[in-house]
Amino acid sequence: MRIIALVLEAGLRDLSRNRWIAAYTAAFLVIAEGLFWFGGTGPQVVLSLLNVVLIVVPLVALIFGTIHVYSSREFVELLLAQPVPRGQLFVGLYLGLAIPLAGAFAVGAGIPFVLHLHAGAGLGALVALFAAGAGLSLIFAGVATWIALSTDDRLKGVGIALSVWLLTVVVYDGLVLALAATFGDYPLEKPLLGLMLANPVDLARVLVLTQLDVSALMGYTGALFERTFGSLAGTTVATTVLGVWCAVPFALAARHFRRRDF
């Protein structure tokens, strides 16, 4: 634990002074404050901000994360040459990337909500929004770490990271819709629910929307999800699976880190 804390502290110190992280924080601050400025009520701001979160958080976590892991490689080698176990070093390095990313989102998007407490965003929706943003940061920081550890070619790594973003954020919903349209005559509820759980971006969307009572905006899988599980059970299932999603890329990247040659 001591080594994890030391490496994490160094990561936090480094990225808290990073200009891209500062710009990321400022961007969320400006967007959320702008939404309030243009007369949005609390729930409207949550809803609008959700759309930004679902696109921007995975993109930044993937691209910034991949580049950061590549640029840290020589320093990681220096740390690995010290008498420290690889597993603990990895946890410190991962958290040193994921926590600043999640923190930048939370601080940037959080300050306007604190300033506009009277707007009545609703505690459930706010917690869901920030859990979704933080969860997506952890998940895609893990994916980025895994990509950068699996591929030595930096250009290829960034290309894979972009492809993952395109697939999960842009293409996935279109594929699900095409599937539903093509096989509309068959009972597709369960496969489509499975597909929704298989994409953390979809899951994050549903997690927040179930708190806002706007099932019309959930899309096909979201509406189906709420109908199947109901609001409370839906939130529990979405949160649990999002937690599993945080663990999977982390575990894959950790396994790779322990075994790979530097």
Partner: protein
């Protein structure tokens, strides 16, 4: 002491190291030399546990180089290029490395000689390449390791700093510490090294005293001796085992008939 036995490593189709066995003599400076892509850095990384061999074993001070890395308490490593997180201050980097090795005696002589005290509050990203390399060297010597692995240590250093570092290496040898060093500057190795290990195409072609190599190649300087070895290896690959004289061993090309 570092003892490597039958180390083999393959990256994809490339045989990077082929059955390399090497004993690094305790208390001596051993120069690991060879052309580019001969496997020097991979061999160093295997000793450090950064890269795992496909076959063979590594023993450091009599203990197996194991996964938990405790054997690295005896090691100081200076990588070829110094890269630290750009937004950390020099003080932060030193604090992190020191905290990772608690309770170890410190040797801050190089930090003082390089004038790093004045750089403590600067972000690493604002330092020149030479200053980063000084920090790199200071970290390698910081914990008084009994084994030092220095990968092209003077690359990027100005002549004064290079002289300071070479003096430090000499003193470390006088104190009985074991040093494995790589460099492409043969005059520098000639000044520092007692022994030489010559790698070419992943095969250890010679290991032994510098004097034995000079005698064998009938060259007055290390640079000429290494050049002669490289020419003979490249003229007639592949190699076959040949033997040893005066504690030195080598693999010679077939055509030499050594």
């Amino acid at each position: 002491m570092i003892s490597l036995t039958g180390i083999a490593k393959r990256f994809g189709p490339l045989d990077v190291l082929r059955e390399v066995s090497l004993e690094v003599r305790p208390g001596a400076v051993t120069a690991l030399v060879g052309p580019n892509a001969s496997g020097k850095t991979t061999l160093i990384k295997i000793v450090l546990g950064l890269t795992r061999p496909d076959r063979g074993s590594v023993r450091v001070n009599g203990a197996d180089a194991d996964a938990d890395g405790q054997y690295r308490k005896a090691l100081g490593y200076m990588p070829q290029a110094a890269h630290f997180p750009e937004n950390l201050r020099v003080r932060d980097v030193l604090a992190l490395v020191s905290a990772l090795r608690p309770g170890e005696a410190r040797d801050e002589e190089l930090m003082a000689s390089f004038g790093l005290a004045a750089e403590m509050d600067k972000k690493v990203g604002t330092l020149s390449g030479g200053t980063r390399q000084k920090l790199n060297a200071a970290i390698a010597f910081l914990f008084r390791p009994s084994l030092l692995i220095l990968d092209e240590p003077t690359a990027g250093l100005d002549p004064v700093a290079s002289g300071v570092l070479k003096d430090k290496i000499r003193r470390a040898r006088e104190e009985g510490r074991t040093i494995l060093i790589t460099s492409h500057v043969m005059s520098e190795l000639e000044e520092l090294a007692d022994d030489v290990a010559f790698l070419c195409d992943g095969t250890l072609r010679f290991s032994g005293a510098v004097a034995a190599l000079l005698e064998r190649t009938k060259q007055p300087k290390l640079e000429g001796a290494i050049g002669a070895l490289m020419r003979s290896v490249r003229a007639t690959p592949p190699a076959v085992p040949s033997g040893s004289v005066d504690g030195a061993s080598w693999l010679a090309p077939e055509a030499e008939g050594a």
